[in-house]
Each structure stands twice: as structure tokens, then as C-alpha cells.
């Protein structure tokens, strides 16, 4: 494996509080040295004017394989990840069959190795067959390589099962990732319950449906000492509950998606199903609360909830169309354009939410440019302007609400394990 020297870039590594222009040497698949000059045989990447970041991590990706390969495959999903600047992703186990056994974990890892693009970390189910009744064989899933546990797509609904899951995972020091939703409050809902849903006559998903479940999960994590991670936080109430819990020392972390930071329920006035997701796009006050919570550290990670759906599924009546949008290929540009440029986050904080923080939550040795670490590196051109065109996506699906948006900031070189896997 040849040496790669990334020259003259602004290296930002939040894991070590590094933010300075320097040369970065990769050798043998590892980060080898800083501030060295190129040797004759080195592959040199000129990063002048660019940002050199630890490889980005998306801890919430639906790869759909096995079972729904018409929406996405591990190959297309990992290609989309690279195009978006991600060197590692964690995939959600709500596949068909769900990832609730060693065999399915191994299948996904095998397919990811075959695809040979970005790193894929597997999340295992909390419950057998994602039915929410009995615990899945969590120890064996862990042995097979699952890095955390979730029934996402649905909440772990039974409070006793959730309590047992927290207790059981204490043995592995792994978090339970929960999709927080009280289902009785969201039946037939397609959008945030508020003024816009009132006007449009569309079924509402109240913020309280999330708030109540977040509070339950916090109480159970606190009671057991277990680790809780709240997925795709979307409400001011969740944020407030998380802030108080963190202050008390509850072992809780949380993520937020780019769409919950950049769009509101006003978008539903178009009745376009590309604005239909769960949790739904909320009203401005909730969005502002999420942005503030991201800035003050209450929300730890930015994750896309990349949810590909084939076009024929999305082109339906709003109540029939499935929830969710693709996110891998627009995330970085949205973070730069909508969060960094307006001054909500500085570069180091923003990159922490996409590198070291998700790595720590999942307990994976990624998200750092420390000497000796795996050479996963994302080189970002912070100034390049581009227009979102779904026809250019590497993902198999095109269900994005950002078509036509002009964004700034894009990955130009993506290095995984010391090999250049993507360049534009």
C-alpha cells in the first residue's frame, strides 16, 4: 500500500482539538505522521484551501439489503456514503429478515466487504424479529460484530422489555438506540400536528408523542444505569428532557438529522411525499430548539436517517407513501450551508458531530486522525458550490426534498483504510 501525503490542508480533528494547516502522511493504512514533506514515491493530494477531516461517520443509515433491494443495496448505499464523504456508516437492522441473528450480521458484513467501499458497522435488533416481545440474542449479535442495538422503524414499546435491554447491555457497554414514539398518539398521522396540519386537514403527529417516549426512556436508563441513545430528535420537549437528563448524569446521547434542522412543516403545503418522514418535519420553534441543542452539546451527533424508497412507492397518496428520505449525499452540503455558514456551528463542532461523537457513542475506533489510527480521511472543499440533482445520486433511490437546492461544501477525496475510494 503506497504512502499518501495530504498536503497543505486545514486539518480539523475534534478528537484532538487540532485545527491548523499542515501535511498529513498516511502509510500502511494508518495515520503515520504530521508535518512531513513528500517523498518521491508518495501519492500527493493537494489540499490547499480544503479541510482535512477524520472520515465522516453516519450512525443512522437504512441500507435495505437484505429484502428491499429495489430501494437500495449495500453496494449502492455504500457508494452513496462515499459520495457524501462518509467513510463509516452504521446500518439499521429493519431489513427483511431483520438483523436479529449472527447469520444476518455476518451476511451484511460479508456484502459490505464485497462492495469494498466504506466501512459498514452493523446495528443489531433489540428484540427477536423486531417484534418487541422478547430480547434478541444480543450477546451473540455482539460477538458477530453488532456495535449497538435498535428496533428502529419502530420504538421498543414494552417498558419492561426496554428495561431488560438496558440491563442486559450493561455487560457489553453498548447503547440502546430508540426511535421515540408513542404510537397511540400518531395513528394515521402523516405530518407534524400544528397549524399547517390544521389547515391542510392532514393527520397530525404531535410533538408530545416523541416527548413522552423520550422521558420514559430517560427514566429507564437512569433506573438501570444503561446507555440510551435517542435517534432523530425532532422536538423542543425532547431536547429539554435530554438537557436535564445529561445534567443529572444519565448516560444518554442523541442524534438529529439534517432535515429536522433545515426544513419545517410549512413544506407540506405542497403535499409532496418527499417531505413525509417520521418523525415529521416540525414547526419553526422545534427546529430552532434542535439547532440550539446541537450547538450547546445536548445533541451529540448529526445522522441522516438515510431512508431510500423506490420512486413508485413515494409517488402515491400522502397517506400511502412511506416515511423517509435519502440523506447521505446531501448531508455535508446542508451542514456547511445551513449550520456552519450562518454561524450556528463552527467547523470543529460540526465535524465532531459527524466524526468523534458518533464513534464514541457506538464504541468504534474511528473518527480520529491520531497517529496510528485507521487512515479514514475526508477532504472537503468548503467553498465549492453545487446544485442537488437526484439524477446524479449514487444511491438507488431519489427521494430527496432538496432537489434544486444550491449548496456549498462537498467531499473531494475520501480515503478509507489508507486507500483512496472516492474522488471528484
Amino acid at each position: 500500500m503506497s504512502r499518501i501525503l495530504i498536503e497543505n490542508g486545514r486539518v480539523i480533528d475534534p478528537s484532538q482539538q487540532i485545527d491548523r494547516v499542515m501535511n498529513l502522511l498516511i502509510d500502511g493504512g494508518k495515520i503515520a505522521a504530521y508535518d512531513v514533506q513528500p517523498a518521491a514515491e508518495d501519492t500527493v493530494i493537494d489540499a490547499t484551501g480544503k479541510i482535512v477531516s477524520p472520515g465522516l461517520i453516519d450512525m443512522h443509515v437504512h441500507l435495505r439489503e437484505p429484502g428491499r433491494e429495489e430501494d437500495e443495496t449495500i453496494r449502492t448505499g455504500t457508494a452513496a456514503a462515499l459520495a457524501g464523504g462518509f467513510t463509516s456508516i452504521a446500518c439499521i437492522p429493519n431489513t427483511e429478515p431483520p438483523i436479529d441473528s449472527q447469520a444476518t450480521v455476518e451476511f451484511v458484513r460479508h456484502q459490505a466487504n464485497r462492495a469494498d467501499q466504506c466501512n459498514v458497522f452493523v446495528l443489531g435488533c433489540v428484540s427477536k424479529n423486531r417484534e418487541g416481545k422478547e430480547l434478541a440474542e444480543i450477546a451473540q449479535l455482539y460477538e458477530a460484530g453488532a456495535v449497538a442495538f435498535t428496533d428502529d422503524g419502530a420504538p421498543v414499546y414494552d417498558a419492561e422489555l426496554m428495561r431488560r435491554a438496558f440491563e442486559y447491555c450493561l455487560m457489553f457497554d453498548k447503547p440502546i438506540l430508540n426511535h421515540a414514539e408513542i404510537l397511540e398518539l400518531t395513528q394515521h398521522g402523516v405530518m407534524h400536528e400544528g397549524l399547517v396540519s390544521l389547515q391542510l386537514g392532514l393527520g397530525g403527529i404531535p410533538a408530545a408523542a416523541e416527548d413522552v417516549m423520550v422521558s420514559r426512556d430517560i427514566a429507564l436508563a437512569e433506573a438501570t444505569g444503561g446507555r440510551l441513545h435517542i435517534m432523530h430528535v425532532s422536538t423542543a420537549g425532547s431536547v429539554e428532557a435530554l438537557r436535564r437528563a445529561k445534567k443529572r448524569g444519565v448516560r444518554v446521547t442523541a442524534e438529529v438529522t439534517p432535515h429536522h434542522l433545515t426544513l419545517t412543516d410549512e413544506a407540506l403545503r405542497t403535499f409532496d411525499s418527499n417531505y413525509k418522514m417520521n418523525p415529521p418535519l416540525r414547526s419553526r420553534d422545534h427546529v430552532d430548539a434542535c439547532i440550539a441543542a446541537l450547538a450547546d452539546g445536548t445533541l451529540d451527533a448529526i445522522a441522516t436517517d438515510h431512508a431510500p424508497h423506490a420512486q413508485e412507492k413515494k409517488m402515491q397518496e400522502l397517506d400511502r407513501a412511506p416515511f423517509g428520505i435519502v440523506g447521505l449525499e446531501t448531508c455535508l452540503g446542508l451542514v456547511v450551508t445551513q449550520l456552519i455558514e450562518p454561524g450556528h456551528l463552527d467547523w470543529s463542532t460540526a465535524l465532531a458531530k459527524m466524526t468523534v461523537n458518533p464513534a464514541r457513542i457506538l464504541g468504534i475506533a474511528k473518527g480520529t486522525l491520531a497517529i496510528g489510527a485507521d487512515a479514514d480521511v475526508t477532504v472537503i472543499d468548503p467553498d465549492v458550490q453545487w446544485t442537488v440533482d437526484p439524477a446524479q445520486f449514487c444511491s438507488k433511490s431519489r427521494n430527496t426534498p432538496y432537489t434544486g437546492w444550491v449548496l456549498r461544501g462537498r467531499a473531494t477525496t475520501v480515503i478509507v483504510g489508507g486507500r483512496i475510494k472516492f474522488q471528484r
Binding site: L198, F271, M315
Partner: protein, 318 residues
């Protein structure tokens, strides 16, 4: 020959819409144009005319994914009186049950040569979805609790005929506001034309947030009775309610049924509308429904005239 029957003139240049999806974004001029033309048709119908060959050679399809007798019959009659060919298509007999998407179903029907498609669907926004994917004109005949523009128009036309104006009137929509497309279409149309609107019903069906849209709300029918000019009594939409919003129909009726005792508290010239089908004894007692203040049957007759005006405006250009 046409001008012998009705004094319409050509479709005016100020009408530029290809679809009628709702009343929310119609201007006062557009609303008034439809109402004026509907009045012309109504007068001609009252004079005994039945055929107005203004849409000869055009084809109107009723594409109904929800049950309806009154609205579908009304649209069919309106189209036939204008000389158009009409076809009914109901979801129960369609290939939707074979897994075809709504867009494919509509495109297939359109390919048979359709000028206007009248669509009813349980889901808000479906007529708009079709308007974005088809070339023919789309008329929304009710999309879930969102809008039912021709119902709103015929209610407003009835008010204008009976009370002579819309601006300055106080109109109360009573009952299941949450699930009512009729309420929404009435609210937008009435507000644009200068009326005050009150939504009234139990607190599980009437949101205080209506105030943010310039609409007054009240939980007490008795409290608002003395100051309203029009009462529009909405049907309780049991089929759209997923959890019961009030303990019993009996209790609802004690609070909101319009009966002769409540009628005595209203203005002398109160006008009572009901978009129907009415649940007698729930929203309104039979004596009130059939009494002098009720315009329920006039609404139905106006329905045909309004739909003739809408179809003519959308498809009446040569």
C-alpha cells in the same frame, strides 16, 4: 342558440386556472366570477331549461375513490346539462384493488380521451398529485378533510341568494370542524369574500389555533346563537374519526343539535345550512331541518348550478 338560453358570454380572460383544487388560493374576483355564472345557470334552470350545449364533445369523468351519491350525481347532471359525455369510475370496480397506483389509474382513464376529471379521494392532496401528473383539468370533489371547493361554493351561493351579500355576515360552522373539508372550503371562501367565520363544536374537534388564521372559535353553540347570520351544521364524520372525540352521540346532541329551542335564540332571519347527508336528531332536529329557515334543498339545487359554472370555466373555451 346558446345565447338564447343563457347570457354567459365567452369564458372571461381573467379566468386562467386549469384546475379547481380548493378555495384557499382563489381570489375574491375568481370566487365572484364562479358565483355569478352559477347564478345565471340557476336562473335558467328555474326557468325550466335543462340543456345548455356548451361542452358538446367534451368528456368529464367522475373518478371517485370514496363513496358518494349526491356529489357524483350532481357533477354528472351538471356535465350532461352542458352537453358533455360523462363516465363514472368508482374505486370498488377498479384495478386499484389489483395494486395499481392512483396515478397510473388516472393516467389510464385520461388516455381514453378526457377533458375534465372530477376526483374524490380519502387523502388530502391527491387531486393536486394528479394535477401534477396529468394533462386534463382536475376538479377536487373532496380530498379527505382538506377541501371540497364546489360544496363551499354552493353554500356561499346559497347564502348570497338568501341574504343578498357575503361581506359583513357572521357565519358559524358547527360540529366536526377537525374532519370537515366542507368547513375548510367554506372558511377560505367566506373569509376572502369578507365574512366573519366562527367555528363551533366540542374542544376535541375545534382547535383554538383557528384564531391564528383569523377565525373565531367557540365551544358553546348557545353563546354564539344570538349574533350569527348563518349556521352551517356539519355532519359528524364518524368514518374519519379514529378515536371517539366525545362520549356519546346523545351528549353531543344536547350540546350542539339545532332544535326549535335554540332556533328561538337566533336572529329572526337566521339561515340554516347543512351540507348533508344530515344525521337527523344529531346535528339538527327534523322540524328545523324542514323549517322555513332551512335552505338544505336549495343548496342541493345550487350544487348543480355551481358545478356547471366550474366545468364551463375549466373546459368551456373553444
Amino acid at each position: 342558440m346558446i345565447s338564447d338560453l343563457v347570457d354567459l358570454g365567452p369564458v372571461p380572460d381573467c379566468w386562467t386556472r386549469r384546475h379547481l383544487l380548493g378555495l384557499e388560493d382563489l381570489t375574491a374576483e375568481e370566487l365572484t366570477l364562479i358565483l355569478d355564472k352559477a347564478d345565471v345557470f340557476r336562473k335558467a334552470i328555474d326557468e325550466g331549461h335543462r340543456k345548455f350545449p356548451l361542452l358538446t364533445g367534451r368528456t368529464c369523468v367522475n373518478l371517485f375513490f370514496e363513496n358518494s351519491t349526491r356529489t357524483r350525481t350532481s357533477f354528472s347532471l351538471a356535465a350532461r346539462r352542458l352537453g358533455a359525455d360523462t363516465v363514472d369510475f368508482s374505486a370498488a370496480t377498479s384495478s386499484l384493488s389489483k395494486g395499481e397506483t392512483v396515478i397510473d389509474t388516472a393516467k389510464n382513464i385520461e388516455a381514453m380521451g378526457v377533458d375534465v376529471m372530477v376526483v374524490r379521494h380519502r387523502t388530502p392532496g391527491t387531486p393536486r398529485l394528479l394535477s401534477q401528473n396529468l394533462d386534463c383539468s382536475i376538479v377536487n370533489a373532496g380530498d379527505g378533510p382538506h377541501e371540497h371547493p364546489t360544496q363551499g361554493l354552493l353554500d356561499i351561493l346559497t347564502i348570497r341568494q338568501r341574504l343578498g351579500r357575503i361581506a359583513g355576515l357572521t357565519v358559524a360552522m358547527v360540529g366536526d370542524i377537525a374532519h370537515s373539508r366542507t368547513a375548510r372550503s367554506n372558511i377560505w371562501g367566506l373569509k376572502t369574500l369578507g365574512a366573519e367565520v366562527i367555528v363551533c363544536g366540542p374542544s376535541t374537534l375545534v382547535s383554538p389555533r383557528w384564531r391564528e388564521l383569523g377565525v373565531e372559535y367557540s365551544y358553546s353553540l348557545d353563546a354564539i346563537l344570538p349574533r350569527v347570520d348563518v349556521l352551517n351544521l356539519l355532519r359528524i364524520q364518524f368514518e374519519r374519526q379514529f378515536t371517539r372525540p366525545f362520549p356519546s352521540v346523545r351528549e353531543y346532541a344536547t350540546l350542539y343539535a339545532m332544535d326549535s329551542q335554540r332556533l328561538a335564540k337566533t336572529k329572526d332571519d337566521i339561515l340554516i345550512l347543512a351540507p348533508g347527508p344530515i344525521n337527523r336528531g344529531v346535528e339538527v332536529t327534523p322540524d328545523v331541518a324542514d323549517g322555513d329557515h332551512s335552505a338544505i334543498l336549495q343548496q342541493v339545487t345550487n350544487g348543480v348550478a355551481v358545478r356547471m359554472a366550474v366545468l364551463w370555466l375549466l373546459a368551456g373555451r373553444p
